[in-house]
Symmetry: C3
Subunit: 135 residues, 3 copies
C-alpha cells in the first residue's frame, strides 16, 4: 500500500509526524513488514531523532544553520531567495528516504525515536510525503 | 527483481540516472511497490536532488568540497591519493542507499526530484549500482 | 522476517556487523530480495564504508569529531553529558536506516563495503538494531 500524506510546516525546524506514518502501517494491516517514507521535495528532509527533549531539536536546527548559512558567497543558485541553496545543502546532508521495519503491527522504532520532517525554508508549506507499507 | 546498472562518470559531480532506475521499475512490472538503489562503492554516493537548475548542483559540489578539502593534515589514509579520504567522508555525509515508493508503475518522486550518482573522485569510472524493485 | 540484533560497542568508533546482517538474510532464505537495517538509537548511526584499511575509519571518526566537537557554546541540550548533543548531530549527518538488495542469497554489497554501527558516545553499550529481510 502506498499513501500520500501531507506535513504542514510553518517555518524552519523539525515537525514530528510519526503518528501519520503509523496510521498507514495500521491501514495496510501489516503484522511484520517494512515501511518506507519519501519526502517529495528538495528543500526539506527526513530525520529519525529524539522525541523526548525539544532542546535537542532546537540545537540540531541551530547547529545545521550555522554550518550552512545563508548568503555564502560560494552560492550561485540564488534566484529563489537566500534560504534556497542552504535548503538544498541541508537536505543533501540529511535523509530524503527512510525505511523502518514493522514489528507486531507497529513501526519498529526505538523508545525515544520519532520521525520528523525537517523544513529548511523560512516560509512553511504543505510538504508531500509518500509512505509505502508492505508485509 | 534485482538489476545491476552502471553509471559512467568523468570526474567529480552529480550524474542523473533516474531513467535507468525507472527502466528497472518498468521491467519489474510493478504497479505499486518499492524501488531501492544501492551504490556499490565507498567513494561515490547517491542523492535525490533538484533536476531543474544545474547551478544548484554546481553549488552542492563546491560547498561540499570546501567542507571536505583535500590535503587536510587530519588524514592518515592517503595512499590512494589526495581525493581518497575526502571521497569516503563525502560518501559518509550523503547516502549509499535510497528507497523510493512506486506509484502507478512509476517512481514516486516529486516534480523536481531526480536520482543522482555523486562521484567524489577526480578520475571518472564505471560506477556499479544495484536496483531492487518489488510489488 | 524481522530480527532484533545487538551490536556491542566499547566507545566511539565504527563497529562492523556485516556478518550479523548476513545471518538474518540466510535465516530468511531469500534468494533475491531486500534487507533493511534500522538502529534504534539517536546517539549511534549506520554507515556502509570501506572494510579494507582501518586508517580510513580512524580518519572518519577524527574528521567528524572535529566538525562536531563537544562543549560547543551553541548547545543547550547538555544534561546528559558533553557527548550527548554531538552524538545527535553526528547521527543526523549519517544514516539511521539502510536498505541493501539481496542477490543470490547474499547482501549485494560492493567488494570493499561493510556495514558499520557508528557509536557516538564515549561509553559503549549494547546497541539494538532491527533487520528486515524479504524476497
Amino acid at each position: 500500500m502506498v499513501k500520500h500524506i501531507i506535513v504542514r510546516t510553518s517555518g524552519q525546524g523539525l515537525y514530528e509526524f510519526t503518528s501519520k506514518v503509523e496510521a498507514v502501517v495500521r491501514a495496510a494491516g501489516c503484522a511484520e513488514g517494512l515501511c518506507t517514507v519519501l519526502v517529495q521535495h528538495t528543500s526539506a528532509s527526513l530525520l529519525i531523532q529524539e522525541n523526548a527533549d525539544p532542546s535537542a531539536r532546537r540545537d540540531l536546527e541551530a547547529w545545521l544553520t550555522r554550518l550552512v548559512p545563508e548568503n555564502d558567497p560560494i552560492y550561485t543558485h540564488t534566484d529563489e531567495g537566500s534560504d534556497d541553496m542552504p535548503s538544498h545543502l541541508k537536505a543533501a546532508l540529511t535523509a530524503t528516504t527512510l525505511s523502518i521495519p514493522v514489528v507486531e503491527g507497529r513501526l519498529g522504532l526505538g523508545t525515544w525515536q520519532g520521525i520528523y520532517l525537517w523544513e529548511h525554508r523560512h516560509r512553511g508549506s504543505d510538504r508531500k510525503c509518500l509512505v509505502h507499507a508492505t508485509e
